[in-house]
């Protein structure tokens, strides 16, 4: 049985940053890139299931959609316990939205036929929380979002999951497999990869696929396959403050001026 874990290489911004010339994203010079934190929990969940099963009964396959640079993310996942890695590369990837990404993930899922697809609940950079649910919709599989506990015996037809709701409520559900679950932070404690595992991961091959290899047409990937488009990313103008100085009478006069300005 396989567990497919789609992972994302996310950007974390420096304290201060500049935007790209086209104004649609942050200049990558101001970003550090790493494995999405939510995906670390999803990966750990998958590895824990594998470790609880007999040797060789479960294969954890990690997948990312991105350029060569994203291999680092996959190698990190391999070092943490994944067995195999796949990267789908697309020249037009920069303009892909969540749905366009989900199409590629769904195609890989159709090919791999996993018992579970475990996604992070959201990405820490854009936070749409849509990719996992889009994958489930495209596959027509059951889905549960923001899972905070998972009980699943590999090979069984159902999994029991819990979700945290408003007001401290917990919802417990039984879901048929194969299913897509998006995993919440805190469900476990992701491990650090040992140096030995990192070295072994560096020696492993990463399967590279083009969208066409998955049967995706040009119109289904990248910007052409996206249902939304980033028009602008910007820092909103901050509210102004003014230090009112002078004698109490001067300060009162200035305050009155401001009130009149605001009232128009």
């Amino acid at each position: 049985m396989k567990i497919l874990v789609p992972v994302k290489r996310v950007a974390s911004l420096d304290d201060e940053f500049e935007l790209r010339d086209d104004g649609r994203d942050v200049d990558p010079d101001f970003c550090e890139f790493d494995l999405n934190e939510f995906d670390e929990y999803a990966l750990e969940t998958a590895v824990l299931i594998k470790e609880s099963a007999p040797e060789g009964a479960v294969e954890v396959v990690v997948l990312t959609i991105g350029p060569d640079d994203a291999d680092d993310t996959l190698r990190k996942a391999l070092a943490k316990g994944a067995d195999r890695a796949i990267r789908v590369d697309d020249a037009d990837l920069g303009d892909a939205d969540r749905v366009a990404i989900a199409r590629a993930i769904a195609k890989v899922a159709e090919r791999e036929e996993p018992g579970l697809v475990l996604c992070g609940a959201q990405s820490s950079d854009f936070g749409h929380a849509q990719t996992g649910m889009s994958v489930a919709a495209l596959l027509g599989w059951p889905r549960v979002a923001v899972v905070s506990r998972l009980d699943y015996a590999p090979g069984t037809a159902t999994a029991t999951v819990e979700r945290e709701l408003e007001g401290g409520l917990v919802e417990r559900l039984e879901v048929e497999t194969p299913a897509v679950l998006t995993i919440q932070l805190g469900i476990n404690t992701p491990r650090y990869a040992s140096l030995r595992a990192i070295k072994q991961a560096n020696a492993k091959a990463i399967e590279s696929l083009a969208p066409a290899d998955l049967g995706l047409s040009a119109g289904e990937t990248g910007g052409a396959g996206a249902l939304s488009r980033v028009r602008r990313v910007y820092v909103p103008e901050r509210g102004k403050s003014e230090m009112i100085e002078g004698t109490p009478a001067q300060q009162a006069a200035r305050l009155l001026e401001i009130i009149e300005e605001v009232q128009g």
Partner: protein, 480 residues
């Protein structure tokens, strides 16, 4: 896979060999410590090719406080405003770096950072004093390195907010504070009451003021006359008395136990605490009084012994960490029922061996970690901790100054990168075992390997270039 079977490469034997290895590996984080190091002067061009190879590296290194000063100076010649801004905010930037930045007509954010930088030379700060920009002036006033002369220049145009900053500035002299006092601005008047250079006539009025907030501010002033201090020690307001106790230099001011706990807490911390008062405070009902007392480095031994048997664990913990805690008391604390108390004595080098042996078997995480830091811990105990499931316990071995290489070796392969970065700099680890981590996946570990080898091969750092400050003053940017 066969590479892992090959013997690890030997470490470079000298600086020349190290530089060759750095050039071959071309890893920016490994190379960074070598820039500007003694013996590596001829390699700057080679190192620059590696260190400046990507824009991201320039931005990252410009912000890191451990970037070598000489490389920060090199980065100051970069054209990107974001790099210059980060350099100006970097606490490690030298006077030379800041002067270079200032000469480049920097944007406002950078000028503000330069004005607030503690390493900014006086001539540069003097140039900035003429800035019309209020934010630059405020940064200057918050910079403890701003000289008295510059403060005087800022006085004339000082707003009430700036006047208050002037009044609390450590370089403000009596003349400046007198001039400020003549302006009769309440905020500045209140600020200068804590200043050692506060005009005596100002202090004289303040300590007799009817407002306890005013009396409280001046009560902590070390320039307060003896008569005034005596009066404030008997003030009806507990806050005033507590402040006066903190400022009182002599034991004679501390002869009596106060009714207010906040005053007694201040007394418990006083370095000239009379024995009789210390004994009384040792029986105080307020736990914080006893805790502060247990931390007082001049506490008589008899009282300290009493605190070792206190009913509150936090007091016993403080007593167990006291530098003069007697060995037999440490033995008692090592078997305390509270793990936090045991953890307080476990790292002490003066802990008697039998007590340390007993603590080596303790399974509490805090105690386990503390034993790992004890320089007298046995090899078996260190090895057990080096492979402990808890990351902090494993790190304790790396932080143990006497940990032998055999105990450090497992931590060198620790999954947690910080543990490897600390271990690789341990002096008991041979270079031959540290050098393979030059290929570590984590930049901080590779930097630590580079720093280790550079410091061993170039033990004396290159001093920053001398700056002819006076000569350079007229060359400052017109914007300054």
């Amino acid at each position: 896979m066969t590479a892992s079977m090959a013997p690890p490469p030997p470490p470079p034997a000298d600086m020349d060999a190290l530089l060759c290895a750095l050039e071959r590996r071309a890893d920016p984080y490994l190379c960074l410590p070598a820039y500007g190091a003694a013996g590596a002067e001829g390699a700057e061009a080679m190192l620059e090719r590696i260190l400046l190879s990507r824009e991201r590296l320039k931005l990252a290194f410009a912000a890191l406080p451990f970037t070598p000063v000489r490389f920060l100076e090199r980065l100051a010649r970069d054209g990107r405003p974001a790099v210059l801004r980060r350099l100006a905010r970097n606490s490690a930037s030298s006077a030379t770096t800041l002067l270079t930045l200032a000469q480049r007509a920097p944007e406002q954010e950078t000028r503000i950072a330069i004005a607030g930088h503690r390493n900014a030379p006086a001539v540069l700060l003097a140039g900035l004093a003429g800035e019309p920009d209020g934010a630059v002036r405020v940064a200057l006033l918050r910079n403890p390195a701003t000289t008295t002369l510059v403060l005087h220049r800022l006085l004339d145009r000082a707003s009430p907010q700036e006047a208050a900053l002037l009044a609390r500035h450590p370089q403000a002299d009596a003349a400046l504070l007198r001039a400020l006092a003549r302006r009769e601005e309440p905020a500045a008047d209140a600020e200068m009451l804590t200043h050692p250079a506060c005009p005596p006539e100002h202090l004289e009025r303040a300590w007799r003021d009817s407002d306890p907030a005013i009396r409280r501010r001046c009560a902590g002033n070390p320039a307060l006359p003896r008569e005034a201090l005596g009066s404030l020690l008997a003030d009806p307001d507990a806050g005033v008395r507590a402040e006066a106790v903190r400022a009182a230099a002599g034991a004679e001011a501390l002869s009596t136990e106060d009714e207010a706990a906040r005053v007694r807490r201040a007394q418990a911390r006083h370095l000239r605490l009379p024995p009789a008062l210390a004994a009384a405070l040792g029986r105080d009902p307020d736990v914080w009084v006893r805790t502060w007392l247990a931390r007082n480095p001049h506490l008589p031994e008899t009282i300290l012994r009493g605190l070792c048997g206190d009913g509150e664990a936090r007091v016993r913990h403080a007593a167990g960490r006291h530098p003069h805690c007697p060995p037999d008391a440490l033995v008692g604390l090592a078997t305390d029922t509270d793990a936090w108390v045991r953890a307080g004595v476990a790292p002490r080098p003066d802990l008697p061996p039998a007590a340390l042996r007993a603590l080596e078997a303790d399974t509490d995480i805090d105690v386990c970690s503390a034993v790992g830091r004890n320089p007298n811990a046995r090899m078996e105990a260190l090895l057990a901790r080096a492979s402990h499931p808890d990351v902090d316990v494993r790190r304790a071995v790396a932080l143990n100054p006497r940990a032998p290489a055999a105990a450090l070796r497992p931590v060198l392969a620790d999954p947690y990168p910080l543990n490897r970065a600390i271990t690789v700099r341990h002096p008991n680890l041979p270079d031959a075992e540290a050098w393979p981590l030059a290929e570590d996946p984590e930049p901080q570990v590779r930097f630590a390997v580079g720093a280790r080898l550079v410091s061993r091969m170039a033990p004396r750092a290159v001093p920053s270039r001398a700056i002819p400050l006076c000569a350079r003053a007229p060359e400052l940017s017109p914007a300054l």
